[in-house]
Structure formats: structure tokens, C-alpha cells
């Protein structure tokens, strides 16, 4: 992917009639030089985002029930609408070849779409759960789609025909996220109460269960539970489960809590490291692992509009770098070449950041 000069890409402008400049050599990854290279605008708050496996498109859900597609490069800022859900979409994933998009809808359905269609229409709308579908993820071999929903179930669907293959029963409260282990044999899930489960894909049986109760809070005054994962991923080597959310809920109804990342040692099935930002009241909404040996997380504050990108080395308590966002983050994804990040925001903007030094304008 070609780097975009900052002063051009940030505005999404074209090079006009000037001849295209010769390709520039890629700057090395340097997270401390992270800067905006593209910005896409929508007039409704965004709910999530993902970048397709080819790194061509970035997709975002919005509170108007639709999913939108932009070109990651920012060369073309026009958007393509994916209309078909009757409620918000909070989770997205792709087939391994990137040709199919799967959308998890709060209208209880999973949408299946052709990723690159010029005028997208759903190929299939699966009545998937009784209640919101909170999460979808495709298996490493690309043959299965996992979903979880407000019926407390995790379900496996075959790709591409969308038939139900397996149901995992065991969560007592809403599972917020479910992700496949890179070995393709196990699946991890995380629920409202901070319960982590390890499932056997083939048998549908629960293998292990543990808790991260510090990522849940019960508000005694209002008698309500607050918790759950806002993002969850395995490290590429499969050794670590990374869970993004909140901790230290002191007032659930005012959203007073701190952002938290939990790293779970998958082999031992125990907490390896807990990271929270004591100086920042809010939530972690997205997390990605970078092969350069660090994590990137995005967050939203309890008040004010300054979202945050944190760059962290696993095991360390302080970020080695942070970037203030123009508004609250609602997720995070990383391009396949691991050079760029996409962040959907509450103000409707979707910003693409590059983790290198900016190229100087030629």
C-alpha cells in the first residue's frame, strides 16, 4: 500500500491534473509517529469498523442501521451503503478471501454480503438469535462463522450456506464477544459478568471457564450489571487472549469506570497482565496486536470528547505512546500490512492513521 502524503490524504483530496508522483519508499513502522492519513465523514455516529483482508476497504456500522464502505487509501472518500438491517450493526467480519462480509445486527440477524458489490444487497439475512446479535467471527479455515447474542447462546454457522452447525450453551448472561483460537479447534467467549469460556469447536462442549470479575461491576444503587468485552482478539501465536472493556465501575448509570485491557495466558488459562489507565475515566472500545511487539487500543472517555489511542507493550503498565482522537472511539482495526489503523468515532468520522513517520510532501 502506498503511503499518502499527510497534507493531501487528510483532506481526502485528489492530485488533480498533476502527474502522479513516483512511489516513495515505505518508512519503517514507528508507532510514536502515528498520524492521520485519511478521514471519512458520516453524519451519524459510527458503531464499529473492520478492514477487509485485502486491505482495500474499511467498513463501519452506523446508528442509522446501515454499514458503510470506504476505500482505505482515502483517494476516494465516497461511501457505499449496505442497507438491510433493521437495527444497529456492532460487529463485522469477512470470509478468508475477503469476498464476503458478515454483519451482526441488533435486529437479531446476521447479514451476508458481497464485499465489493457496487450496489450491495444482502445475499442472506439469517434469523440468528433471540435478541441482539452482538458478535460475529470467521474461523481460521474460513468454513465456520461464530456468533453470540442476547439469548446467551453462541452459535456456529457454516459458510457460505449459513446453516446452523452447533450451539454452545453455558453463559448465564449476555456473551459480548466470541473469537476462534488460531488453531481453529477452540473458541473463546466473554460475557457481561466477566466470565471467560473455552469451547471445543467439534463437540460444542465447554472445556474451561474462568472469571475476570474486575471487568464487571454491579451498581448497588441502581441494581444493574455493567461489564462485557467491547473487543476481543487472540494474539497471532494463539498464546494470549486479549480482552478490551472496563473496570472499577463506581457509577454504572453515569458511566464512571476506567478503561481496561486483560491479557489471558491461553495455555494456563489465567490472567497474565491487567492494564488500566487510572488517569482516564472511560472504556476501551478496540484492541489490536501489532507484530512489532505492541498492542494498540482505542478508547472513549466518560465525559469530554477526547478519545484516545494507546500504544502499549504487553506487561508494561504505562503506554509508550498515545494519540488523542478528535472524538470518542467505537472500535479499532489494523490493515493486513500492519501499517495503518482505522478508528470509527462517535461523531461519525472514521479516521485512518499511519504508524510511520509522515512522508514529506514532494
Amino acid at each position: 500500500m502506498t503511503d499518502i502524503p499527510e497534507d493531501e490524504a487528510a483532506s481526502g483530496s485528489q492530485t488533480g491534473n498533476h502527474p502522479a508522483p513516483p512511489p516513495l519508499p515505505e518508512n519503517p513502522i514507528d508507532a510514536t509517529q502515528t498520524h492521520v492519513v485519511a478521514e471519512f465523514k458520516h453524519d451519524i455516529p459510527l458503531t464499529t469498523c473492520r478492514i477487509d483482508p485485502t486491505g482495500t476497504f474499511v467498513f463501519a456500522g452506523a446508528e442509522d442501521f446501515h454499514v458503510y464502505r470506504w476505500n482505505v487509501s482515502g483517494d476516494d472518500t465516497s461511501k457505499t451503503i449496505f442497507a438491510g438491517h433493521q437495527s444497529w450493526v456492532r460487529s463485522l467480519d469477512f470470509s478468508r478471501d475477503g469476498k464476503l462480509l458478515f454483519t451482526a445486527g441488533y435486529d437479531h440477524r446476521i447479514g451476508v454480503w458481497n464485499t465489493a458489490d457496487a450496489a450491495p444487497k444482502p445475499i442472506n439475512m439469517i434469523d440468528a438469535h433471540k435478541g441482539w446479535v452482538r458478535w460475529v467471527r470467521v474461523s481460521p479455515d474460513g468454513k465456520l462463522l461464530a456468533s453470540c447474542g442476547n439469548d446467551n447462546l453462541i452459535k456456529l454457522w457454516s459458510i457460505p450456506d449459513g446453516t446452523l452447525q452447533q450451539e454452545f450453551v453455558g453463559h448465564d448472561r449476555y456473551p459480548y464477544a466470541a473469537v476462534f483460537h488460531p488453531n481453529g479447534k477452540r473458541l473463546a467467549s466473554f460475557d457481561l459478568m466477566g466470565v471467560i469460556k473455552d469451547w471445543d469447536i467439534e463437540t460444542g462442549k465447554e472445556v474451561r471457564s474462568t472469571e475476570a470479575k474486575f471487568m464487571w461491576g454491579f451498581d448497588q444503587k441502581f441494581r444493574a450489571d455493567m461489564g462485557g468485552a467491547r473487543d476481543m482478539r487472540f494474539s497471532e501465536d494463539g498464546k494470549t487472549l486479549i480482552i478490551a472493556g472496563l473496570t472499577e465501575v463506581t457509577n454504572a448509570f453515569a458511566g464512571v469506570h476506567k478503561p481496561m485491557l486483560l491479557l489471558v495466558d491461553w495455555k494456563k488459562f489465567e490472567h497474565r497482565h491487567k492494564w488500566k489507565d487510572d488517569a482516564y475515566k472511560g472504556m476501551v472500545w478496540g484492541v489490536c496486536e501489532h507484530p512489532g511487539g505492541f498492542l494498540v487500543a482505542s478508547g472513549a472517555p466518560q465525559s469530554g470528547n477526547k478519545g484516545m489511542l494507546w500504544f502499549l507493550k504487553p506487561g508494561e503498565d504505562k503506554p509508550f505512546h498515545s494519540v488523542q482522537l478528535s472524538h470518542c472511539a467505537r472500535g479499532l482495526d489494523i490493515t493486513p500490512n500492519k501499517r495503518q489503523l482505522a478508528v470509527p468515532q462517535f461523531d461519525g468520522k472514521l479516521c485512518v492513521y499511519q504508524m510511520t513517520a509522515p512522508h514529506k510532501a514532494v
Binding site: 433493521q86 433471540k130 435478541g131 439469548d151 444493574a224 448509570f253 453515569a254 458511566g255
Partner: protein, 420 residues
């Protein structure tokens, strides 16, 4: 706590006919399965109020006035109800099946976003001033002489204390019950038997008479008398608080605090209470509005409907006004915490039962729910409506010597189209 799941598409296919058929057994109950307490209460001809207060401000979008697919509509869908053409939020699937027993007012504007002021305007039916709450007025005008229970009972675990009876006699003040526990000190002290207790009461009565005979203001002793009388009635009905709810009731209503409080509310109404208010806390959702409404309304919906069914099936709904309300609604615009803030400018209440036209929807909000579009009403209109539905002429003055005080705000009128 286990939550009930969202409804599926089949659940949305509701018809009034199917509900009526389903409640045929309930109708039979009117004929022959009433408890002695219910039979006695029904025979008395007394009218009463059940108030369900959703404390903190339930979102009108997530309850009675859904706006799916609009700018501020949020993620929930609307579902059809047993009243053709009337839709409510999908978080109320049980209520939707009973909508023909209820009516909705979607055009309430209380001119405030303050918890306390909103609550006072609804309870007193006045914009300001010291006036009695609806429950206190009901106690004064609907309770029989020597009622078996205090006239105005409020089941809650917290809330701001207030002068609920204002200038009415202290016997009409709210008695707050802390959950389902009996009020404190209900048991007679050890060593004082019935005879001694009666002699003590007689002595107190004589002392009061002597005080009055020497020119003492009766108001000074009335308040004490009321407290003693209230305590005496409650002591006689102590068993209401001591009996464990049946397994069947717990299964139907739920084992959560709101469930068991509604079971107690039913028993209090069955045993002659005039106004019972049950507060369900937890709607002040400045963050995570949708996740919290999933939880709170899941608790409310089925439990409320079980109570509504029991009143309906026993025949008591005809003489019981049911009122579901909050001190305000919630902002159309979502904040960055997925919360909705305080909004008194355009929200909804629901009511049904005694004297109320069932299945009606009064008023409306504009497309985005940001303001009332038609038939704006305030706390005064609702106050008149509730009490006139119960047969209280709110255009009259309170019977206070030397102080003609209109029962309802004379500057506003009841919502006539809701009065049966």
C-alpha cells in the same frame, strides 16, 4: 439474575382475540375462585390505585413511543400490540399482548428535567406549591371509614422523603414499606398483652380528649392518633408481610425484588389498600441506556403483566386504576456513553383499569421525538384524569375548614378522551 430473552417473530403475531381466549380461565376466577379477601374487597365497592413508578426516568423511545429507524430512535424495534395500529418497543412483549387493557399518553411535557420537580408535578398535579400527592388524595376520598390498611402505601427501598399529605390529615400520608419487609416495631413489646395494649390506647384517647377539651389544637393529636391507628391496622395485617410468596407466584412474577414487591402489592390491594405504589428503580441511564433498559424493562414487563393479569382475572381491574409513570423521559439525543439524559419535554405515561378508556393512544411527538406534536398535557391534566377516572370530582375543593383549596389545578382539565 437470569434475564428473559428477546421475543421472536412469532411472538409479534399477537391478536387481542388470542389474549382474550387465553384469559378465559381468569374470567372463570371472577365467578368462583376469588379469595375471601378479594371477594370482600370487591363487594365493598371501593376504588383504588396501583402506581408503578419507574424511578429515574424510563426512556419513552425504549417503551411507549418507539421511533425505530429515526435519527434518535436507538437500536430497538417496535412491535405490534393487541390494539391494532398501536406499536410499542420490543422490550415490552408481554405488555404488548395486554395493550387493550391500557392506554398511552405520548405527549407529556412537564417543563422540567429535574428528578424531584418532575416527580412532584406528576404526584401533586401542580406546577409548584404544597399540595397532597395523588395517593394521599385517593386515601382521603376513596378509602372507606376505618380502612383495613393505611390508605397510601409505597413499596420502595429508597427515595426522597416528602410531605405527601400536605394539608390533609396525617392518616393520608404515604407509608413507605422498605421492600417486602413489615414496617419496623410492628410486634407488640414483650410483656404487653392485648388487654394492656387496649388499656394503653384508651388512656391515650382520654388524654387527647382532655387536651382538646382544654382548647388544644386537634391537629397536634391527630397526627399521633393517625400513627397509632396506622400501626394498629398494620399489626392486625402483619401476616401479609410474613407469608412467603407461593412458588407459583415467584415463578410468574420473578424472584427479583420488583417481582416480590408486586406480589405484596397485589396482596395489599386484595386486602383493602386504597393506593399502592411500587417503585422500580434504575432508569436514570446516563450511560449504557440500551443495555440497562434491556435489563430493567425485562424485569418490569413480565412482572407488571402478571400483576395486571391477576387484577384483571379477579375482576378488580374494573375498580383499580393502574398507572405506569416516571418523573420524566429521556433525551432523544444519545450522549457519548450510549446514554440518554433527562428529558421532560416530550415523554409518555401509561394507564388503564378503572374509568379509563382502554386501548387508546392520546397525543403524539414529532418524527424524531424531540417535542410534542399534538395534545400537550402536563402533570395537572394527568392528576385530574386519574382521580376523575376513580370518581373523584377534582373540580371541587378539599374539605378543609376555612381553606377552600381546589383538589385539582383549576387551570387545567382532565384528558376527557381517556375517561370512560
Amino acid at each position: 439474575m437470569q434475564r428473559e430473552f428477546g421475543c421472536n417473530h412469532i411472538d409479534h403475531e399477537i391478536s387481542r382475540r388470542s389474549f382474550v381466549a387465553g384469559s378465559a380461565t381468569g374470567a372463570a376466577a371472577v365467578g368462583g375462585l376469588l379469595t375471601p379477601a378479594q371477594a370482600k374487597t370487591l363487594k365493598s365497592g371501593q376504588k383504588r390505585i396501583l402506581q408503578i413508578f419507574l424511578q429515574g426516568g424510563v426512556s419513552q423511545f425504549e417503551s411507549w413511543d418507539p421511533k425505530p429507524g429515526t435519527k434518535y430512535g436507538g437500536p430497538f424495534r417496535s412491535i405490534p400490540t393487541s390494539v391494532p395500529g398501536t406499536h410499542i418497543c420490543e422490550l415490552l412483549p408481554h405488555t404488548a399482548k395486554r395493550m387493550h387493557l391500557l392506554s398511552i399518553v405520548r405527549s407529556v411535557d412537564l417543563k422540567t428535567n429535574d428528578h424531584r420537580i418532575g416527580r412532584l408535578r406528576l404526584e401533586k398535579g401542580r406546577m409548584a406549591g404544597e399540595f397532597p400527592y395523588i395517593g394521599a388524595v385517593a386515601s382521603k376520598y376513596l378509602a372507606p371509614p376505618n380502612p383495613p390498611l393505611p390508605g397510601y402505601l409505597h413499596i420502595s427501598t429508597r427515595g426522597i422523603e416528602d410531605n405527601t399529605n400536605a394539608f390533609l390529615n396525617a392518616q393520608h400520608a404515604q407509608l413507605k414499606l422498605l421492600g417486602v419487609n413489615a414496617p419496623e416495631n410492628l410486634a407488640r413489646p414483650a410483656g404487653i398483652d392485648e388487654e394492656v395494649a387496649q388499656r394503653r390506647n384508651e388512656f391515650r384517647r382520654l388524654a387527647n380528649e382532655r387536651f382538646a377539651g382544654r382548647g388544644g389544637q386537634p391537629a397536634f393529636t391527630e397526627a399521633f392518633d393517625s400513627s397509632f391507628e396506622m400501626a394498629r391496622r398494620l399489626m392486625k395485617r402483619k401476616s401479609l408481610f410474613e407469608q412467603e410468596p407461593s412458588a407459583k407466584d415467584v415463578e410468574r412474577y420473578g424472584s427479583h425484588p420488583f417481582g416480590v414487591r408486586c406480589i405484596l402489592a397485589r396482596e395489599l390491594l386484595n386486602n383493602g389498600a386504597t393506593c399502592v405504589k411500587v417503585t422500580h428503580h434504575g432508569y436514570d441511564t446516563h450511560a449504557e441506556n440500551f443495555n440497562f433498559h434491556l435489563e430493567q424493562l425485562d424485569e418490569f414487563d413480565k412482572t407488571f403483566c402478571m400483576l395486571l393479569d391477576d387484577l384483571h382475572d379477579s375482576g378488580m381491574l374494573e375498580s383499580t386504576l393502574v398507572n405506569v409513570y416516571s418523573e420524566f423521559g429521556r433525551t432523544p439525543k444519545l450522549n457519548q456513553r450510549y446514554g440518554r439524559d433527562h428529558w421532560g419535554a416530550s415523554f409518555s405515561v401509561a394507564m388503564g383499569g378503572c374509568g379509563i378508556v382502554p386501548g387508546a393512544v392520546v397525543g403524539s411527538t414529532n418524527a424524531d421525538g424531540t417535542e410534542v406534536a399534538e395534545r400537550e398535557v402536563g402533570g395537572g391534566h394527568l392528576f385530574h384524569t386519574y382521580l376523575q377516572a376513580l370518581g373523584v370530582d377534582t373540580s371541587q375543593d378539599h374539605d378543609i375548614p376555612g381553606r377552600p383549596v381546589p383538589i385539582g389545578d383549576p387551570s387545567v382539565a382532565p384528558i376527557e378522551e381517556l375517561l370512560a
